[in-house]
């Protein structure tokens, strides 16, 4: 409904719409649709463990408080054995394991702006939403994801510290092996842009002349490294320099849920426009062996002077 308008006209129409109940509903719906699509594209957590949409009936209440959890089953053990014809196998009384994924809310700040000031903007209101709400929400999702991953490797010990000063194939191999050794398969690697840049300066003696030439011209343009998917993030505050993560594919990793959908709320009171965005999500790694991290001794990504 906003297509074909310049930014100022857009803002004008947007504010006028908010003067009616119907218009406010339309604005909220448009905002929610926008938020959904952008979040799907931006957060790396959602690429590594795509969220599944759930409703209230899929969740369980606690007897102690008013929050919700989703209980997820873990595949039970089983095995086969070689036997003589007259013998019989061991018995197993099946007792499955489960774990609970608690839900929590991620909410943007509550943005307030006067309609007159809003009109003074040369870009549409959706840009403000994009630059504030969405970045904040997807960042919190990513932080929670990495926090849970840190908790997993602290239990399994799948954290390798290397004196190497940049990411190379040897480091990646060591990383992937930590997962592959447990009858799993490392499916995706996560690194930040700085380490990704380092990966691209490997010498031709390491990666071969054709690839080195190609990288020099066009950069590393493949979506995989050593047959594993590659996710690169610019969030160096979450995926720290020198830290490269590996994860198994989602089916062997864990679960991520979003309750209902992202919600966008907006209202106009007198001349003030107020809006915020929130969602209820839950993420958990049921198989903590499916996560590994390597920590390299990389120099600070921000040169502080001196010589190279």
């Amino acid at each position: 409904m906003y297509e074909g308008l310049d930014a100022q006209s857009f803002n004008n129409v947007f504010i006028e719409q908010l003067d009616t109940t119907e218009g406010m509903k339309k604005s909220a719906a448009a905002g929610a649709a926008f938020v959904r699509s952008k979040i799907r594209e931006i957060g790396f957590a959602r690429r590594l463990l795509p969220p599944e949409s759930v409703t209230r009936v899929d969740l369980t209440r606690s007897t102690d408080h008013d929050t919700l959890i989703k209980i997820v089953d873990i595949e039970h053990d089983s095995k086969a054995m070689a036997l003589n014809f007259a013998s019989e196998a061991d018995e197993r009384y099946i007792q499955g394991k489960r774990y609970a994924i608690p839900f929590y809310k991620i909410e943007s700040e509550k943005f307030v702006k006067s309609e007159a000031e809003l009109l003074s903007y040369d870009y549409p209101i959706t840009k403000i939403i994009e630059e504030n709400s969405i970045k904040d929400i997807q960042k919190v999702e990513d932080i929670t994801f990495i926090n849970h991953a840190e908790a997993a490797i602290s239990l399994t010990g799948k954290r390798l510290v290397s004196s190497a000063t940049s990411v190379d194939r040897r480091a990646m191999n060591s990383l992937f092996k930590m997962i592959d050794a447990d009858e799993l398969l490392a499916d995706v690697a996560l690194m930040n842009t700085v380490d990704y840049n380092d990966y691209m300066v490997q010498p031709a003696t390491e990666i071969g002349s054709p690839l080195a030439s190609e990288i020099t011209l066009d950069g590393y343009k493949y979506q995989t490294i050593m047959k594993r998917k590659l996710v690169v993030t610019n969030k160096l505050g979450i995926v720290l320099p020198g830290e490269v993560w590996a994860f198994a594919e989602p089916a062997y990793l864990g679960n991520s849920f979003i309750l209902n959908d992202v919600k966008f709320w907006i209202k106009k009171e007198a001349d003030m426009v107020i809006w915020k965005t929130w969602e209820y999500v839950g993420t958990g790694f049921g198989n903590i062996k499916s996560i590994a991290k390597i920590e390299l001794d990389v120099p600070s990504p921000i040169p502080v002077g001196g010589t190279i």
């Binding site: 959890i69 209980i71 009384y93 609970a100 849970h148 049921g286 198989n287």
Partner: protein, 157 residues
């Protein structure tokens, strides 16, 4: 207090859920063993793989420091919802079974054929341990594994 899931099984979880649960696996005798519910003595709690005795009122109680013949494997502990509801614990009674368990006295070295008994080991533990000369024998070691024992219970003791 009843909780839906133990804390270590709430994400981020504090347990490797892919690891085999060795607390109690009945390898032989599942179909024929007697699974019997017994009312729980006041204050007694049991987890799967522990053992219980019957007190003078026939209630399931924690084993004492002196082993007795009437000591039974706990098949389902008091940490389950059904046990909360019934105030009963499920015991394996009166039939020999072959069991694999990580719940044993780890302060003792075992060999295949060792006789086992059950008594209070201190620190709230009441597991199988090597039987002394005058103590009732409740089980016999069949395999000494890495972190587990396989033994056969001697039914009808």
């Amino acid at each position: 207090m009843v909780v839906a899931v133990s804390d270590i099984r709430v994400a981020p979880i504090g347990e490797d859920l892919t690891k085999e649960d060795l607390s109690l696996s009945v390898l032989r005798g599942l179909e024929k063993m007697y699974r019997v519910d017994k009312k729980i003595a006041t204050g007694a709690v049991f987890s799967k793989g522990e053992w219980a005795v019957l007190d003078s009122e026939g209630l399931a109680a924690r084993p004492g420091v002196t082993p007795v013949g009437g000591t039974y494997l706990v098949f389902c502990g008091t940490d389950r919802f059904d046990s909360y509801a019934t105030k009963q614990v499920t015991l394996i009674m009166s039939h020999p079974v072959v069991v694999k368990t990580s719940k044993f006295d780890t302060g003792v070295t075992y060999a295949v054929g060792d006789s086992l008994t059950v008594k209070d080991l201190g620190a709230g533990e009441a597991f199988v341990t090597k039987a002394g000369a005058s103590e009732p024998v409740l089980a016999r070691v069949l395999e000494v594994g890495n972190g587990y024992l396989v033994f056969e219970t001697l039914g009808g003791v």
